[in-house]
Symmetry: C2
Subunit: 234 residues, 2 copies
């Protein structure tokens, strides 16, 4: 095992470390990812994931949260470390290892920051089905993140991170249908979601043109039991 000292003595370079974020939201009934158009080489004019270098005194998660806040203005979100990509060729500028994170944000809280910084030309939400060509290995990262999102949706309550404070059961179901890209059975879905014991009813209703829908919110307390599988095939 080498030590930091012997490592330096041998003259190995240190590496650059970045975090990259796959930030998901649902807008207009589509699952979207936030991308930034690159204003300089490499991959100038390509779209890429938001991200940046990890600073010397911040943890990886702090770096990810900092980037997230810079790009979306949002602070409190579901954030999870995904995977670390370290192919030596993944960044033409040199050796850059990136720790990828995925985040779920409630679209009603987003205020996309189109900043005035010179190197940023544009920030945009792209439907997961209509992604442009991405720079670096970011397409791999997005694919990996989507896989993880779908997977976790099936057996955890992760999807709730995409919802506002109050929501109807139909809202959640539509969210799941959008992400999983399949139709779900209403009765089975409701049974499962409610059996998780994560939700509580409110006294409020959402009024529309038709029968008002009862609004739910998350329980503050922990759920009473974990569930085996959340799958709602029909």
């Amino acid at each position: 095992m080498e030590t930091a000292e012997s490592y330096s003595k041998k003259g190995y370079e240190q590496l650059s470390v970045t975090v990259d974020l796959v930030i998901f939201t649902v807008i207009d009934n589509e699952l979207k990812v936030l991308l930034i158009k690159r204003g300089q080489e490499p991959f100038i004019d390509f779209w890429a994931l938001p991200g940046g270098f990890v600073r010397i005194n911040e943890s990886l998660e702090e770096a990810a949260l900092r980037e997230l806040k810079e790009e979306t203005g949002i602070q409190k979100v579901y954030l999870e470390q995904l995977y670390t990509f370290g192919n030596p060729k993944r960044d033409p500028r040199g050796r850059v290892v990136t720790i990828s994170y995925f985040a779920l944000v409630d679209s009603t809280k987003i205020k996309p920051v189109v900043t005035g910084e010179e190197q940023i030309k544009d920030v945009m939400w792209f439907s997961i089905n209509k992604l442009p060509k991405l720079g670096f290995d970011h397409e791999d990262i997005v694919k990996y993140a989507l896989k993880r999102l779908c997977y976790k949706l099936e057996y955890t309550a992760i999807g709730f991170g995409l919802l506002p404070e109050f929501f109807t059961l139909t809202d959640i179901q539509e969210l799941y249908e959008i992400i999983l890209n399949e139709k779900l059975d209403k009765r089975n879905f409701r049974k499962k979601i409610l059996s998780m014991n994560l939700l509580e009813t409110t006294k409020k209703y959402r009024k529309g043109q038709h029968r008002p829908a009862l609004l739910y919110k998350f329980k503050k307390i922990k759920p009473t039991h974990t569930f085996k599988k959340i799958r709602f095939e029909s």
Copy 2:
């Protein structure tokens, strides 16, 4: 988003990047982890996970495989990236981000290399239940790895990485019982394992004091179906 250039201009230091390995095996009916006694500061005389710095031209997985080979002499193993730990305080020498991997090795193939390198005093397999105090945040890493191992054992065929070429069904069951630390029902276990379609019978038997046991081996081809859950409670 910062670029490598602006990053350098601002004078941020680059970071050290290591890989650390949680290498599991089963010896004497116990789940063991390979540890190395540190020969220098920091954490001199503490035990720690094998690992080392990632070199400038190797991928993360290559670095992990290189370390694995150095410590165990083994090359072909199950290896999976676990998690990346990057707390700024985790290494007193400076900022070191570590990508942890976990590996499963067949104990019959191990030849623990007690090297002559000056900084390595000792290499040893420790029972997971009797770990010494570990340096750095390696205890967290081991715990994380164990959790992942148990978890994956329940729904994948990962455990086979710990077995030799030929084995009996009882061998596998004992392996699972050791790792999961619970007794399993023989008939249910066999039903599940065989239903995975991962194994094929051989013509060989293991002779012992009692009725000879049929030896199995892995199929070369892919399994025909994935299974829901591997749980064998009695």
